[in-house]
């Protein structure tokens, strides 16, 4: 495809054949000071995020909070319905039969926790995003099969099409293409 993009430039996308090559390239790119970068692989690659200097551990905390909310919701629901709203003598058990209240509260904890985990993950990843510039890379469909890609965005302060392209090619990229927005 044409090297001279017509539309505004999203960035350069380099293709690699193997996970290790991608990993090295990613390290180099980061060392070179590029920040607006991303790597794409058909399966999770150990250390790739580090290589891109990306760290995000917020998920655990959010899920914990979700779980706690679930617990509170479950138990207060039980307490309200059985003790406050309509207390009834059921088989001589006390209104606040806390022993019996444990299982449902436990289940709500899990429920809230799990869904927090799933949804938060998607939100943080900005999914769903059916359209993304990187899809414009001609061979990008292989990113979900057996090829590995590295992208440097035009928005990156250090980005200069010519230099960056040279730099990437230097990293034994199988091919480097410019991708438009």
């Amino acid at each position: 495809m044409a090297d001279q993009p017509t539309a505004p430039l999203y960035g350069l996308v380099a293709e690699f054949d193997s996970a290790p090559e991608l990993l090295d390239a990613a390290r180099e790119v980061t060392r070179a000071g590029y920040r607006k970068t991303d790597a794409f692989s058909p399966f999770p690659i150990h250390g790739l995020a580090d290589a891109l200097d990306f760290h995000d551990r917020r998920l655990s905390l959010i899920v914990l909070l979700g779980g706690i909310c679930g617990l509170l919701f479950g138990y207060s629901l039980e307490y309200y319905t059985q003790v406050i709203s309509f207390p009834e003598n059921i088989g001589g058990r006390p209104y606040h039969a806390w022993v019996a209240f444990i299982p449902p509260a436990f289940e709500t904890t899990i429920l809230f926790g799990a869904f927090t985990a799933g949804i938060t993950m998607l939100v943080l990843n900005g999914l769903p995003s059916p359209y993304h510039p990187v899809f414009n890379a001609p061979r990008f469909r292989f990113a979900s099969q057996d090829k590995f890609f590295l992208a440097i965005e035009a928005a990156d302060p250090k980005f200069n099409e010519a230099e960056t392209r040279a730099f990437l090619t230097g990293l034994h990229a199988r091919e480097v293409v410019a991708v438009e927005e």
């Binding site: 399966f43 999770p44 985990a117 799933g118 990843n125 469909r141 979900s144 057996d146």
Partner: protein
């Protein structure tokens, strides 16, 4: 069924969890072709047909039920619960293996799980669907039970009774169902992307494109993805244990001799996994033959599952012995009589001994490595376990109820044809859903399989997080 993958005589040889000489490409092609291929195997149609016929049986049975009332079943007054609840517990149990494989084995870093977890999870999902039918239709007034069982603010200002194990069930089962579905879908996302990118037909592309949520395999995404996946696994593990514990409470909380036993929770959970693995095998063995997946679902998998089955089976048998011991040691006349009636002179004692045959004696063949590696042997054992675990619930529910405290109310229980149509109907529903799944979604997690590819320079990265 099929010849062994091992050099003759050498049973020490370490077994691969993936056939030799596989590349990312080959895995991708192989697994996507299962779905995207033009020619579906004849066997698929055959199974589908059976499933569909049975499913229609279920529909008819339920319609008739709603019209006439549950009197069409064999349930009566001493035996207020029978087939419906047996089926419910059986299906829920079957579901457990899926979660176990995808969650617990994940936490234990058992990488052989990767090629079976996907359809095991699907199995969980569909088993829960089948199970969830029963608590509703077994009630006298399903059209009310369907929503009165949930706490929602209403004009009567009345609420469900949270002291009742059935309400615990409602919470446990609905949580289990939805969390399993979530777990399953999250797992599917990257493979949906693969499908999106490999499918030719534009419509398929779009369809899988929507399902993939625009997944692009970004390193940042993978990072959070694995993190979330791990958390889900961590949450599902206590969940799956709690679900069958709660189910066992349905009985353990009752005062009926034969129900009122403290061993029930662990014993039920073990039973569930036992049955679950049996069902996974029942599905895996034909499936891998049908689609020639022996490279991915290797004899190693079969053997490992056989081992798990054996282990959990022994736990279950331990449960039986505990029941017997408690009954005897309690010195309680009702408990003791329950045992005698169940094992010795009761009119339904036969069911207990068939159960022992299916769940205890037959599976012992799995001790032999030779037989463990004979697919037909494993398959047969699994079938016995499936039946045995159903019978276990029959024994617990029916034989305990039909002779409880007052001899004057001792009666017999006989199922009607509608009981059977409903039971096999759900089997039909299960098969239908399962094979539809196989036809439209990747039955083996492709992206995880890629991590198993060993013939690459770099060591295969692990799925687990850091």
């Amino acid at each position: 069924m099929e010849g062994s993958q091992y050099p003759k005589g050498d049973f020490r040889a370490p077994l691969p969890i993936i056939g030799p000489g596989h590349s990312f490409r080959s895995i991708t092609n192989k697994l996507t072709s299962v779905v995207l291929t033009k020619n579906t195997p004849k066997a698929w149609f055959a199974v589908m047909a059976i499933g569909f016929v049975l499913l229609n049986g279920l529909m008819i049975a339920i319609t008739y039920l709603l019209f006439k009332g549950i009197g069409i079943w064999g349930t009566n007054i001493p035996v207020g619960w029978a087939f419906p609840i047996i089926n419910f517990v059986w299906w829920i149990g079957i579901g457990h293996a899926g979660t176990l494989i995808s969650a617990i084995l994940l936490l234990f870093k058992q990488d052989w799980r990767t090629s079976i977890n996907r359809f095991a999870e699907a199995m969980t999902l569909f088993a829960v669907v089948c199970a969830a039918i029963f608590p509703v239709i077994h009630t006298g007034r399903p059209w009310l039970a369907a929503y009165w069982l949930f706490p929602y603010p209403n004009a009567m200002t009345i609420w469900p009774n949270f002291r009742s194990p059935l309400i615990w069930d409602v919470f446990a089962v609905s949580t289990y169902g939805s969390v399993s579905a979530l777990f399953w879908f999250i797992g599917l996302i990257p493979d949906m992307a693969t499908f999106r990118d490999t499918a030719e037909h534009p419509l398929l592309k779009k369809m899988y494109g929507v399902l993939s949520l625009g997944w692009r395999g970004s390193a940042r995404h993978w990072e959070r993805y694995e993190h979330a996946y791990l958390l889900l696994a961590g949450l599902s593990t206590p969940l799956v244990l709690s679900v069958h514990t709660v189910v066992s409470f349905d009985f353990a909380v009752g005062i009926v001799p034969g129900w009122h036993a403290t061993i029930f929770p662990p014993y039920f959970v073990a039973g569930a996994i036992y049955d679950g693995f049996a069902m996974v095998l029942t599905l895996a063995i034909p499936l891998r033959a049908m689609y020639g997946l022996r490279d991915f679902i290797t004899d190693r998998h079969i053997e490992n599952m056989a081992k798990v089955m054996l282990a959990t089976g022994l736990v279950v048998v331990y449960g039986y012995s505990c029941e017997a011991f408690f009954g005897w040691y309690s010195g309680n006349e009702f408990e003791r009589f329950m045992l005698k009636n169940r094992m010795y002179f009761g009119p339904m004692a036969w069911s207990y001994w068939v159960l022992i045959l299916c769940n205890f004696l037959v599976p012992q063949i799995m001790w032999s490595k030779r037989l463990r590696r004979k697919t037909w042997a494993v398959f047969t054992a699994a079938m016995f376990v499936n039946v045995g675990m159903w019978l276990e619930r029959f024994v617990i529910i029916v034989t305990s109820l039909h002779r409880d405290f007052l001899p004057s109310s001792w009666e017999m229980y006989y199922p009607t044809k509608w009981d059977f149509i409903t039971l096999f109907g759900t089997v039909g529903l299960f098969l239908t859903l399962m094979f539809l799944f196989v036809r439209v979604l990747p039955l083996i997690s492709i992206f995880e399989m890629r991590t198993l590819v060993t013939d690459k320079p770099a060591a295969a990265p692990q799925v687990e997080g850091h």
